[in-house]
């Protein structure tokens, strides 16, 4: 390897984008094919800067669209090497068909998705619409709540993606602007330690291996399609094992422990919110402050969004009396994704908490500590009364009259 070594401090101050870029650099990516879009642009710009200054010996391909970026990643990945890219929102929407193709073809790719609202109206700020758009795409999807986690998750993504028992592409999510553009302390690994942790790329069915010509990307009709999609789903579900192993190895290396389902104050709590992204950390502050009011609240987040840790989410929420599932994405005519998935997880268990769905923070609308305290206070009231305080789905923090939908039936205990 003839690339320059970067000396990192023990504690760096990086925003989420730089965390991504450094993880790419340390992971010795072979090809980065990318297209700029706010707020993920800096992930690629930083990487290009590293490349221009000799810190990268792989290739950088600046394509003419996001669809082309992901297409190039799939081609390069199938050729037999490590690939990565970054995008958000409209770019993710443009490349969505290629996401399905990548996972169906079982090509390891790491996508840093800096979560941003989907148009229309056009919005460059952070929400989870793009994250939700990837739900059924067959990718493993992990969420970071701050720049340290963005670095950690992105680094681990390579290891998980390329594992011989997985061979599935991985999305490393973080909130647009709130994480991507907020500089915080990040404790990085040394270059060599990080590179060794990720390990060398393992070639499987590589196009450039002329000893074994292989046909990638076939057509399967009604007599074969189902078996292949079944196999793909089985692999995605089984990846949970490798994710847990990787988290365990990472903890040994760094002391930082990650779980499929993260929670705060769950042991003592009767009420909880379920959310993704930076809201988790804001909720931690609200929860601490609410102890003075005698309210015991918790926040739960599926750090691994796909494969969805259904049993672990259900387990975590068994003793909670009232739950608000907070979805940071326009719900499109029904209850939000987290509400659906958490309710579905709880249904086949004895627990029957009050369940509500809060739509919040769209287009980067701030979710404040004060706002979360109000949400927890309301949950506390609901838990004590034994019924919802209003309709099932409510929009929080939008100017205008109350916007809520769906009545609960009967008295829910």
């Amino acid at each position: 390897m003839n690339k320059r070594v970067m000396e990192l401090k023990e504690v760096e101050v990086w925003d989420g984008n730089m965390a991504n870029s450094q993880a790419f650099r340390q992971a010795d990516v072979d090809v980065v094919a990318a297209y700029p879009i706010t707020p993920s642009t800096a992930t690629v710009e930083n990487y290009a800067m590293f490349h221009a200054n000799g810190y990268i010996d792989g290739e950088v391909m600046m394509t003419e669209s996001e669809h082309a970026a992901m297409s190039a990643c799939v081609g390069a990945g199938a050729a037999g090497g490590r690939v990565a890219t970054a995008t958000s929102s409209q770019g993710l929407a443009l490349m969505i068909e290629v996401l399905y193709q990548a996972s169906g073809m079982r090509i390891p790719v790491v996508l840093c998705l800096v979560n941003r609202a989907l148009a229309a109206p056009l919005n460059v700020n952070g929400d989870h619409s793009d994250l939700y758009l990837t739900r059924d795409s067959g990718w493993i999807s992990i969420d970071a709540f701050n720049p340290q986690q963005a670095y950690d998750m992105t680094l681990m993504s390579f290891k998980i993606s390329e594992h011989p028992d997985v061979r599935l592409p991985v999305i490393s999510n973080q909130d647009g602007f709130m994480t991507s553009h907020t500089a915080q302390n990040v404790i990085p690994l040394e270059d060599k330690v990080a590179c060794d942790f990720v390990g060398p790329y393992l070639q499987v069915n590589a196009l450039l291996n002329f000893d074994k010509p292989v046909t990638h990307g076939v057509q399967t009709e009604q007599d074969w399609h189902f078996e292949h999609k079944a196999k793909q789903h089985a692999a995605l579900m089984a990846s949970k094992k490798v994710i847990l192993e990787t988290f365990a190895q990472f903890k040994e290396l760094t002391g930082r422990e990650y779980k499929l389902v993260e929670s705060y104050n769950l042991e003592n709590a009767d009420i909880a919110i379920v959310c993704l992204g930076t809201t988790f950390e804001t909720a931690m502050l609200a929860i601490d402050q609410l102890k003075e009011e005698g309210i015991n609240a918790a926040v739960v987040a599926p750090r691994v969004f796909r494969p969805f840790p259904l049993e672990e989410v259900a387990e975590a929420l068994q003793n909670v009396k009232a739950i608000a599932c907070m979805d940071r994405s326009a719900p499109g005519g029904t209850v939000g994704t987290l509400y659906n998935e958490v309710s579905g997880a709880l249904f086949n268990t004895p627990a029957r908490p009050l369940m509500s769905n809060l739509i919040y923070g769209l287009g980067g609308r701030d979710m404040t500590v004060a706002g979360l305290k109000d949400i927890f206070r309301n949950l506390d009231k609901e838990a004590k009364a034994g019924k919802l305080s209003g309709k099932i789905q409510r929009f929080i923090g939008v100017r205008g009259p109350e916007l809520s939908f769906y009545d609960a039936q009967g008295d829910v205990k």
Binding site: G104, M105, R106, I107, R167, N205, D211, K212, P213, V214, T215, H216, V218, T220, W224, F226, E227, H228, A230, K231, Q232, A234, A235
Partner: protein
């Protein structure tokens, strides 16, 4: 691969629905080895037959043939077999009966003609037309 692919369940199929052309690894340049010497796997289409697409088939008359190889190059189905610059015959497993080989054959009479699928090669050769005179 011991089990035929048609008997495999979802758990036994290769991930990503990939297909291998050959069994095992190959350690030669494919372009240096003729197809009959390659170890095709059951997932190469070569082992399949599309001969049942035909209702008429080309019959080759080696007596009149001049080995020009027009039929070889213009066959869409790799069904004209040429070796050592000589026409060897028609691959009836892969021939779809399109008739292009006949249309490009330059000899007089033609060295490839279409006959009913059920006609035997012996009968066809026995009934080969005479050389056409100019203007016919």
């Amino acid at each position: 691969m011991n089990k035929p692919i048609s008997e495999m369940g979802w758990d036994e199929l290769a991930p990503g629905a990939v297909l291998y052309t050959f069994d095992g690894d190959i350690n030669y340049n494919i372009a240096d080895i003729q197809p009959e010497d390659r170890m095709y796997s059951e997932t190469s289409s070569k082992g399949m037959s599309v001969g049942d697409w035909r209702v008429i088939k080309p019959v080759w008359n080696s007596e009149t043939c001049i080995d020009c190889q027009n039929c070889w190059i213009f066959c869409p189905d790799t069904s004209i077999i040429a070796r050592n610059k000589e026409m060897k015959g028609v691959d009836y497993e892969h021939c779809k009966g399109c008739g292009l080989c006949v249309s490009v054959c330059p000899t007089n009479p033609k060295s490839l003609l279409m006959f009913n699928e059920y006609e035997t090669v012996e009968n066809a050769l026995a009934n080969w037309p005479e050389k056409k005179k100019k203007g016919e």
